[in-house]
Amino acid sequence: MREITYVEALREALRQSMEKDPNVILIGEDIGVYGGSFGVTVGLIDLFGKERVRDTPDSEAALIGACVGAAMSGLRPVGEIMFSDFVVDAMDQITMQAAKTRYMFGAQVTIPTVIRLPGGSGTGAAAQHSECLENWFVHMPGLKVVVPSNPYDAKGLLMASIQDNNPIMFFEHKLLYRTKGDVPEEAYTIPLGKSRMVREGKHITVVAISIMVSKALEAAEILAKEGIEIEIIDPRTLKPLDDAPIFESVVKTGKVLIVHEAVKNSGFGAEIAARIADSPAFFYLDAPIKRLGGMDIPIPYNRYLERKAVPQVEDIVDEVRKLARNEF
């Protein structure tokens, strides 16, 4: 199988979806000739023309509103928000319109639109260009939230999202764009709402979101040398969440660490923790449920501060070691 990057995987998903279905259109800033600020849509305007690959001015509200309206009218638009932080300019269109319209109109319409958002820190882009906001949208009924952690998942989940009939917030991580992985050439989908067992291990369960999956894998190598085997689960979809495998894993290991880059305070890890505590797995816990997440600060500009602000491999290793040694 050939190896391609996360960006190439996304691009292939878009291309193959647009080839299959003429109703799939792209709307975003600089996605045409420029190819998108992260290069995801390079070449697509040449293949599909400017009626289907629409560059917009700096108008997040209008462009996302256009996606929502187009979806209501029968198209399948994929919108791009250049940096996930800019989603705030489109919050009405996403939360008050896309999320709620189907319900408010008594199910008279469906809104099959995917909004792609590159997020995450580590590029020195500072506080207004480095957010991880997936949890905001989990909290809004009517939306689905997807967080692919690798190229294979990125392609499959994006194709599945485009085919789904709901408004979907698709959070990509900037630092994952250049990562490579085996990706089949043919079109394929990965079901939404299904988590993945990334690595089996008998000692400690680690639930990792997005970029934390690769960090957890690195941590796993280090820990394995010390005889600590972690089991890594990647939810892939935050809403709807496939929590059963998490519960089963906790029953097996009795110890769990949840790690995401988004701010720890009230982050999605809190939801997973609460669910574990409310499940049969509770009675198999041999340690408090642990979470690692971003610090409660805006992302700093200085690169060392930026690095410190979010969980790194060594933080995962430390936390797992403490759990293994019953230091809690």
Binding site: F283, Y284, D286, E327
Partner: protein, 435 residues
């Protein structure tokens, strides 16, 4: 005239300060207002300023020492001026100066901060049991607070901090958390601790050492002889049934929810066995020379492991008691057994025995019949196993292996099987007991 530098009070309730750092040394030239030392209160570090210009002299304390507020910590002298009798002469050890001059200050580096000492008294904490986290092992206020909260956790409410897994294992095994030594942080009992406890109570491991002698006499010998006779004289057949304990677990949860009472698995099994015996009177019988007597009462012997050996206290008329009563009685019998307070009636009249090695980790085992009974039930561990459901799909269920040893002179395979089937049905559908 030399000017003393006083340890200032920075906070309203502050009583002491610790010297963190001397910014100047003896003989240094100081201007008025220059910071000469950094001191700390409980939380914050502050600078002590020179009240006059001159030379710093006569440092009274070392870094790390705690000083009472308003004590003299050093002096400012004018150039050329000597600290009459105050400053240590060159070469004179500091300790002498201390002895002479520091009447109002503690002599030793305190092993406990004054605040902590006061608090320990208020909260009734035994300082001797507290390990200090301060410099040099000094006991701080935090240490006392921690110790106090640990203490209250254990004694005042009777609650022992334990992980959910530890509680579950303890519950399933009928072990009280009081008997478990905790290895988790802050005295939390971990499941590993509970599992260790089970092993410790096994009879010989405590006293047996390689190269040692274990007496074979008294109770041990009596039990052994009985065991031998049973094994030699009674043709044993064994039947093992895998029982899904899910319903039983749920019943326990329901009872807990409705009554707040925790029913032990042993109690449930006793009740189920009693019911099954009621429907299969042959299994509750006694072989005499020319007849098999179907016994009128159902008295269940519950094997209890003691250090000295196996003892089987008896729960009389198990079929006439409800689950709560049985539960209470099982607990009482176990307690009386371990405390060596069993009554005569406790040890007589059993018609059927249950032995539970599941608590000790056994998956499956065979027991030897306890004559004059005709059968004995060996209860294994409840463990999660994959079984096939009606659609042939694997599902995870809590399974336990129950093995019946039956006296084949009295009980045919079919009779034994019927009993075990009833028992299994009852455990898997507890509602049957109502019929």
């Amino acid at each position: 005239m030399s000017t003393p530098i006083i340890m200032p009070k920075f906070g309203f309730n502050q009583e002491t300060s610790e010297i963190l750092e001397w910014l100047k040394k003896e003989g240094d030239s100081i201007d008025k207002g220059d910071p000469v030392a950094v001191v700390s209160t409980e939380k914050v570090s502050m600078e002590v300023e020179a009240p006059e210009s001159g030379l710093l002299a006569g440092l009274q304390y070392k870094v790390g020492e705690t000083v009472n507020i308003a004590s003299v910590i050093a002096y400012i002298v004018k150039p050329g001026e000597k600290l009459e009798g105050l400053a240590p002469a060159p070469g004179k050890p500091k300790s002498e100066v201390k002895e002479n001059q520091r009447a109002n200050v503690e002599e030793n580096i305190p092993s406990i901060t004054p605040v902590a000492s006061k608090l320990a008294q208020e909260l009734g904490v035994d300082i001797g049991t507290v390990t200090g986290s301060g410099p040099g092992g000094r006991v701080t206020r935090e240490d006392i607070e921690k110790a106090a909260s640990n203490k209250s956790k254990n004694s005042s409410t009777g609650k022992i901090p334990a992980t959910p897994a530890a509680k579950r294992v303890a519950n399933e095994s009928g072990i009280s958390l009081n008997n478990v030594s905790a290895s988790g942080p802050a005295g939390v009992v971990l499941s590993a601790d509970v599992l260790k406890t089970e092993k410790v109570t096994s009879s010989t491991t405590k006293i047996a050492k390689p190269g040692g002698i274990v007496p074979f006499s008294g109770m041990r010998k009596a039990i052994a002889l009985n065991m031998q006779r049973s094994y030699q004289e009674i043709p044993h057949i064994t039947l093992t049934y895998e029982v899904d304990m899910q319903a039983a677990s749920q019943l326990r949860e329901k009872v807990l929810k409705n009554t707040g009472k925790k029913i032990s698995f042993t109690a449930l099994i006793v009740k189920a066995v009693a019911w099954a015996l009621g429907r299969n009177p042959m299994v509750n019988s006694r072989l005499e020379t020319d007849q098999i007597v179907l016994l009128p009462s159902i008295n269940i012997g519950i094997a209890v492991a003691l250090e000295v050996g196996l003892i089987v206290p008896v729960l009389h008329d198990a079929n006439l008691k409800n689950i709560s009563e049985i539960n209470v009685e099982v607990e009482e019998l176990t307690t009386r057994s371990t405390n060596n307070r069993l009554r005569q009636s406790d040890l007589q009249g059993s018609t059927f025995t249950i032995s539970n090695l599941g608590m000790y980790g056994a998956d499956k085992f065979t027991s030897i019949i306890n004559p004059p009974e005709v059968a004995i039930l060996a209860v294994g561990r409840i463990r999660k196993q994959f079984v096939a459901d009606e659609m042939g799909q694997p599902i995870l269920r809590p399974m336990a292996s129950l093995t019946l040893s039956a006296d084949h002179r009295v009980l045919d395979g079919v009779v034994a099987a019927r009993f075990m089937t009833d028992l299994r049905d009852c455990l898997e559908q507890p509602g049957l007991m109502a019929i």
